[in-house]
Amino acid sequence: MPFWLCLVIGAVVGGIVVGIMLSQLHTVRPNNAAADYVIRDSFRVTMQDETFLGKTTNRTPRMQQQQQPPHQGGPSQHP
């Protein structure tokens, strides 16, 4: 592993450690949902359906060993 890669990983770990320590100091966060106030058993799904709209198929050539560089293939349709 080259030195620069060790340094990058080190810096990421350092950032995570300090980030966790800083987040401990921040506890005043908004509560954007009202899940605590749902009346028990009040949730009813009365309508559910699904309509198939269509489909699209893309194909890409597989890598042939290491020798040949891959070609990007165009999409093909199978409606």
Binding site: L25, T27, A33, Y37, T51, F52, L53
Partner: protein
Amino acid sequence: MADMMEYKCPACGGKLEFSSTEQQMKCPFCDSVFDVATLQSYDEALAAAPESDMSWESEAGSEWEQGEADSMRVYHCQSCGGEVIADETTAASKCPYCDAPVIMTGQLAGELKPDLVIPFKLDKEAAKKALLQHMEGKPLLPKIFKSENHIDEIKGVYVPVWLFDAGVEAQIHYRATKVRRWSDQQFDYVETSTFAVRRGGNIAFEHVPVDGSAKMDDTMMEALEPYNFAEAVPFQTAYLSGYLADKYDTDAEASVARANDRIRQSTLNAFLQTVRGYDTVNTEHDSIRLEHGEAKYALYPVWLLNTSWNGTKYTFAMNGQTGKFVGDLPSNKGKAWGIFFGVTAAVTAVLYVISMLLQSGQ
């Protein structure tokens, strides 16, 4: 194709074109193909979906009775303009929001009386203990901040909140995809199927609280949640004894938007959880109607401490019922950088040594 209207691709939002070879609508951007009749009914369903409606009826609060109002005193803070009330046996001297001296300005006049109150359950000692605990185990908190806190200044305040009830009727349209992958000898295939998914139904909420005091930070009140509403009792002045009470200065109408936002978010979350078995799900349209909304005016107990440190104001608050404690703390920037560089150097050195050892071993 006389009434050929413009359709948007349900998969990517691009403008669809009619492909005469396939006799279907085709998306030039993502190559999806759609049946015209399906698209038509899909668009009609979207257009027919009702708009969201979030109106409320509010008859919150009531008039104070003569005897009750007589025993209450109003105090005015000359520093922040806040007004708090206390009963005649409780002498208020400092403002709970800014710690400046308050002066008594008279008795209650023309105010609403709260419908409900959640009484204080935890005393000042519990609040002081919680504050000390709140500052434990936080390496980046400047040590000197702890020692300079005027912890005895912590005050019990009844904060005015509006409580909203709502029955919700929702209709939500999603666009979902299923992805299938396979390979043969030459190619990898990715097949994406697009679906229009609909959900409709009901859900109900009760006692969604919104801070009614402009002096109390709204986010802080939300961070103190949840309060256990089962312990709320009809308001009586006796509960105020020994505590300060704030009066609302943001009315129910102005507060309802926040409750609506939270109810809406929870409704969307609840229905989204029923859309399963897809690889991606996007919400395309929703109509969320609130019915028979009713507001109530209540007082919630909060222990509040305001301090200044290095020219910045810090506020700590404890839920006077559950003991939940919140408050943003200052950080020691120098120490934060120190830890960052220390950890970075240590991890880098260890990794580098290990990779050198591995290399020489080969």
